[in-house]
């Protein structure tokens, strides 16, 4: 254990010294130092698996540290439980959502803090009012306090998570990738909120892979690589490029691969697809070799559309075709009168793949190993004499693990939940690549993925496109949509409002179509 000499510097709310953490003997943090004063926003950046979330869980009292010290307001502390950390004024928004899905927003916010009547019973009207006020105050008024948390979109759930941390004003607010699932105005609300808290003297610890916002918000930036602090710097003294280089430990040339030209035949054709309450009369085509982006605000219906195209949910009218031969892969769906895939199985057989946006709920089987998760799509196609051809299966999967650089390197037999968030995302991607699709739909595929990995994902998608794959990339990240795609579809309130050439449009134009401003 590192024994720090002397008391911490005056003025620091929080000081970490030589914090270490190991999991079953494997070190993940090797002595991290971090200092924060009131009114600061300390950004923590690093590649996937660098140890950011681990550090944050230690701060939150959710994980014990293996060594090192933590000082708060000049006193040595060691929160042993989230409860302790609460009492110390440390509030945390975790990377993974932690709401109680069956309960209302109000209850999720006020659990343990309900306003009560004199009888000791909970005063529900007061509770809803309090929750509503809180949400409005922090700029998340769009979230209804009486809504059932589990039925909200991921973005709205994230807002509730943030609001939960602010029920009583913290001294230290810790945010682990809060922006990963937000976009547009919601993102602005979040940034506004962080600035207000900062101005009120709260110390904000902020983890994000979106370096532009980090440079914009932070007062200081701590770069972590492989569990060590490589630099502590300030926005004014660094740049996005430098940060990426520091995180990755190598130079990274350009983020997006060069555009391809000369697309092939239409591979995915969606015509007049509707699903009441979600999207209306959606038509578009993706050609072989083409990467089509789809941008829209939260709740614009993109994910529902993707699920519907994929046969995970029925459409009421419309048609979905994969391949040039019309309808040969599709089947009339008697129930809805739409010519779409009736199940994901059908869609996959036709050559579709869908990387869903919520990896925890629809992307992974948490307790299964990484290998078993990735192998799910090919279980039935890798057999010999009716039995799973284990060596062949293993080889194919392990090859992908290596190609996508899923970390740690020996993760194949680890339960997938033990991977860092970004690596889990890569595992989901690997699963679909293994299926060998002809059309790949990616719903927010780089959410929570570090820049170096993003670049490798872009590169991989580009390679696949060059081999003739058709790609639909749904994203709330404007830069990504413009940089990584050939064409951009904009979706607003369940309708496609624009079809733009990615090379010749601007962020403003896309945003305009998405909020109904531009003509």
């Amino acid at each position: 254990m590192t024994v720090a000499a002397g008391s911490p510097r005056a003025g620091n709310v929080l000081e970490l010294r030589g914090v270490r953490k190991e999991f079953g003997g494997v070190p993940v943090l090797h002595g991290v130092d971090l200092v924060g004063r009131p009114g600061e926003v300390v950004a923590v950046v690093g590649a996937n698996g660098a140890g950011k979330s681990t550090l944050i869980k230690i701060l939150a009292g959710a994980l014990p540290m293996s060594g090192g010290e933590m000082w708060l307001d000049g006193a040595r502390v060691e929160p042993r439980s989230p409860h302790d950390a609460h009492d110390l004024g440390i509030r945390t928004v975790y990377q993974e959502l932690t709401l109680v899905p069956e309960l209302t927003v109000t209850e999720n916010l006020l659990l343990g803090n309900f306003p009560r009547r004199r009888t000791g019973l909970i005063d529900w009207p007061a509770a809803h009012a309090k929750a509503g006020r809180l949400l409005a105050e922090i700029g998340f008024g769009a979230v209804h306090p009486r809504a059932i948390a589990g039925r909200l979109t991921v973005a709205r759930q994230q807002m509730v998570e943030i609001a939960k941390a602010l029920v009583s004003e913290p001294r230290v607010l810790v945010l682990d990738e809060p922006s990963a699932v937000l976009a547009g105005t919601d993102l602005d609300s979040l940034f506004g909120l962080i600035r207000r808290l900062r101005d009120r003297g709260v110390l904000v610890i902020y983890v994000s892979h979106r370096l532009a916002e980090v440079l914009d918000l932070a007062t200081s930036i701590v770069v972590i690589k492989d569990g060590r602090v490589v630099t502590t710097t300030e926005p004014a003294r660094t740049s996005e490029d430098e940060l990426i280089r520091l995180m990755a430990g190598r130079r990274l040339e350009r983020i997006y691969p060069a555009r391809r030209t000369g697309f092939g035949e239409p591979r995915l054709r969606v015509t007049g697809l509707s699903r009441p309450g979600e999207f209306t009369d959606v038509s578009f085509t993706v050609r072989a070799g083409e990467i089509v982006g789809m941008f829209g605000l939260v709740g614009s219906g993109r994910s529902e559309l993707a699920r519907c195209v994929f046969g995970a949910e029925p459409a009421s009218t419309g048609e979905v075709r994969v391949g040039t031969e019309s309808g040969s892969d599709t089947e009339q769906s008697g129930r809805t009168g739409a010519t779409t895939f009736r199940s994901p199985t059908q869609a996959i057989t036709a050559g579709l793949a869908l990387v869903t946006e919520d990896r925890k709920r629809t992307g992974l089987v948490p307790e299964l190993t990484v290998r078993d998760n990735i192998g799910l799509t090919t279980l039935y196609s890798t057999t010999r004499a009716g039995l799973l051809d284990v060596p062949r299966h293993r080889r194919a999967v392990d090859d992908l693990i290596a190609r996508l650089d899923i970390r740690p390197a020996h993760c194949a037999t680890m339960p997938v939940v033990r991977l860092s968030g970004g690596n889990q995302q890569k595992a989901v991607l690997a699963k679909w690549l293994l299926a060998g699709p002809r059309v790949l739909i990616l719903d927010e595929p780089t959410r929570g993925v570090d820049m170096a990995t993003r670049m490798s994902i872009y590169q991989m998608v580009d390679d696949l496109a060059r081999d003739g794959l058709a790609v639909l990339l749904i994203s709330s990240d404007l830069t990504e949509v413009l940089g990584a795609t050939d064409r951009v579809l904009v979706m607003r309130e369940g309708r496609i409002t624009a079809d733009l050439d990615a090379e010749h449009t601007t962020e403003d134009e896309v945003l305009g179509y998405s909020i109904g401003r531009a003509g």
Binding site: T98, P101, E107, L111, A147, G277
Partner: protein
């Protein structure tokens, strides 16, 4: 996923784009209305097809026959809400009953009854601690408890005990007008219990734990204590049910209560509770109890032969939860 249906509870907002599967006259059939319709329908059919149904004797029977299942079901609900299950309730019924009957000769009646109920609480605490503190699977812990407690009931007395004490019968047979006292007690348990679940922090925490225990822990709430509390409540209800049953029959038998847990669990689920935890209400559970008792009552009134009763009972239960399921919005 429906939240709680309790009136005083935080009502979920109606969300666009989530259609209920059943609609009547354009209005969505909610779980509540779907379920209520079912109960009313069953009662109406019963009243129309059986002369005996609406007689006072029969209605009083219905009220009496709800008591044991009702008490057990409420306690079970609380445990189920945490995501657990309590298979030991039938054995606790036997133990509490026989201990009370055994003590009545030496102790004042209320004290003897208190000991019976306390024994239920004690068993509940042990179950709860094994589940919460030692993190053992509730199903197996309470299955083991079922065996052990049944054994203990027999160890206490192999033979039935019929206390001479005339007051011993009183609790089980007293009437408040046309309403049996025991039914009133059960109703009070449901009232207080409903309030507990919908309006107290402890109740809300129990529900939240069933939804996501880790979240509740991260919110700084002592999850273990609440889980132990839930099993203790179930134990208390089972103890009370045992004391009441012994008093009602006038004889306490160590063998009583076999498979009682199954009806209690069925009542909860019929009433809309989810065995995964986090969803269920006192009101719904009471409805579930009513439906179960009605099924038995009607099959008897129609003079359906015992085996066919069993065959039909199962079929009716499936139909009921089917209707229940269909009126819940799709996840």
């Amino acid at each position: 996923m429906t939240g709680q249906l309790t009136d005083a509870g935080p009502e979920p907002a109606v969300e666009p784009g989530r259609r209920n599967r059943l609609t009547v006259a354009g209005r969505p059939v909610t779980v509540e209305t779907g379920f209520l319709t079912l109960v009313v329908l069953a009662l109406a059919v019963a009243a129309l097809t059986s002369d005996a149904f609406l007689t006072q004797t029969n209605l009083t029977n219905l009220l009496k026959q709800m008591v044991t299942t009702g008490l057990l079901a409420f306690g079970m609900l609380v445990v189920i809400l945490t995501g657990g299950i309590d298979l030991s309730v039938g054995s606790v019924v036997a133990f509490a009953g026989i201990v009370t009957a055994g003590l009545v000769s030496g102790l004042p009646l209320p004290l003897a009854m208190a000991v019976g109920i306390a024994s239920g609480i004690a068993f509940g605490l042990v179950n709860g601690i094994l589940v919460a503190r030692f993190e053992l699977a509730p199903f197996v812990v309470t299955l083991a408890a079922l065996t052990t407690i049944r054994g203990l009931a027999f160890v206490y007395s192999e033979v039935p005990i019929a206390p001479e004490h005339p007051d011993f019968f009183w609790l089980g047979s007293a009437m408040l007008g046309p309403i049996p006292l025991t039914t009133v007690i059960m109703a009070l348990v449901f009232l207080a219990g409903g309030l507990f679940l919908s309006r107290t922090p402890a109740g809300r925490s129990i529900i939240a734990i069933g939804g996501n225990a880790e979240t509740v822990r991260l919110a700084g709430i002592n999850v273990r204590r609440h889980v132990v509390l839930a099993y203790a409540i179930s134990g208390a209800c089972a103890g009370l049910a045992g004391v009441i049953l012994a008093s009602r029959v006038g004889i306490a038998q160590p063998s009583v209560g076999v498979a009682f847990e199954l009806d209690a669990i069925a009542a909860c689920v019929i009433g809309g509770a989810s065995l995964a935890g986090g969803r269920g209400t006192a009101r719904g559970t009471l409805g579930g109890v009513l439906i179960l008792v009605l099924i038995n009552n009607l099959l008897n009134l129609y003079d359906v032969q015992s085996f066919w009763q069993q065959v039909l009972k199962g079929v009716v239960i499936v139909v009921v939860i089917g209707v229940q399921r269909a009126s819940r919005p799709r996840a």
